[in-house]
Amino acid sequence: MDWMLSLAGGVLIGAASALLLLFNGRIAGISGIVGGVLAPARGEVAWRALFIAGLVSAGGLFLLFAPEAMPTRAEDFGGRSFAMLVAAGLAVGFGTRLGSGCTSGHGVCGIGRLSPRSLAATGAFMLTGLVTVLVVKLVMGGAA
């Protein structure tokens, strides 16, 4: 049952990404969308800000009607310290800009169009993702 929700969620993500392409002609790469707000170019900020507002709106809706899907309790964050979250954020911020994408840009849109760059990128972040989780597990003595 759980896997059906996951699949449905995925299809919705894929469809939404496709709609961004159809309506606005853009790749739904979140890191790029955010990056474009931080390095503002004419005509490039408003649509990005609205997209991000849309994300937060969805979060708000789920918080109201399906709060179990949202991380609201301390245990949802698996005992991650402030330092870990800051390090994680910095790495994600710098890494996605350097690597020109994240799970949505490369993982969904890139692989969806069989881009060799995205296939390589996704392989890379999956690899370090799982190694990092392993290391954190060993150091912290238990996964989140």
């Binding site: 894929g14 496709a18 709106s57 949202m70 350097l98």
Partner: protein, 154 residues
């Protein structure tokens, strides 16, 4: 104006997909990456559904001359796997495994106002700004090196 409304609508649908698929819960992300432990395959189903849907729709949509509410399609054309791509992706993966968040779910989860989420997002924005600084510094170095070389030639 329509392109602004559609941007918001698409963001809403995208965020809904993330939440529906469980991607806004770090435990599910870490559970997927935790290959040696109790494995949570949710992300695989989310990715599968997303890539499948996108792949199909992408081919249909790009048959058009252009998008509905903007001038042209802006899709990356480079196919080169370079050092920056790999280094950046490796680093991103470390952050992803450390925090259990990537940009999309983190922003969607801002709605909760949880300190952990705000912290992560602030740091993420910081990391992105740091990258801008790094890029500018690199560009300046290249310019100086080129100028020095040009002076030498004359």
């Amino acid at each position: 104006m329509r392109h602004l409304f559609t941007a918001w609508l698409v963001g809403l649908l995208f965020g809904a997909g993330l939440a529906l698929g469980g991607m806004t819960l770090p435990a599910k992300i870490v559970g997927f990456l935790d290959v040696t432990g109790a494995w949570d395959p949710s992300l695989l189903f989310v990715m599968g559904g997303a890539v499948g849907a996108y792949a199909l729709l992408y081919r249909l949509i790009t048959r058009r001359e252009g998008p509905l509410f903007d001038a042209k399609f802006q899709v990356p054309t480079s196919r080169r796997v370079d050092r920056r791509l790999v280094a950046g992706s490796l680093l991103f993966g470390v952050g992803w495994g450390l925090g259990g968040f990537c940009p999309g779910p983190a922003l969607t989860s801002l709605a909760t106002g949880a300190t952990e989420v705000v912290t992560f997002v602030a740091a993420m924005l910081g990391g992105m700004l740091l990258f801008r600084v790094y890029e500018s510094a690199l560009a300046r170095r290249r310019e100086n090196a080129l100028h020095a070389w040009e002076v030498k030639q004359s």
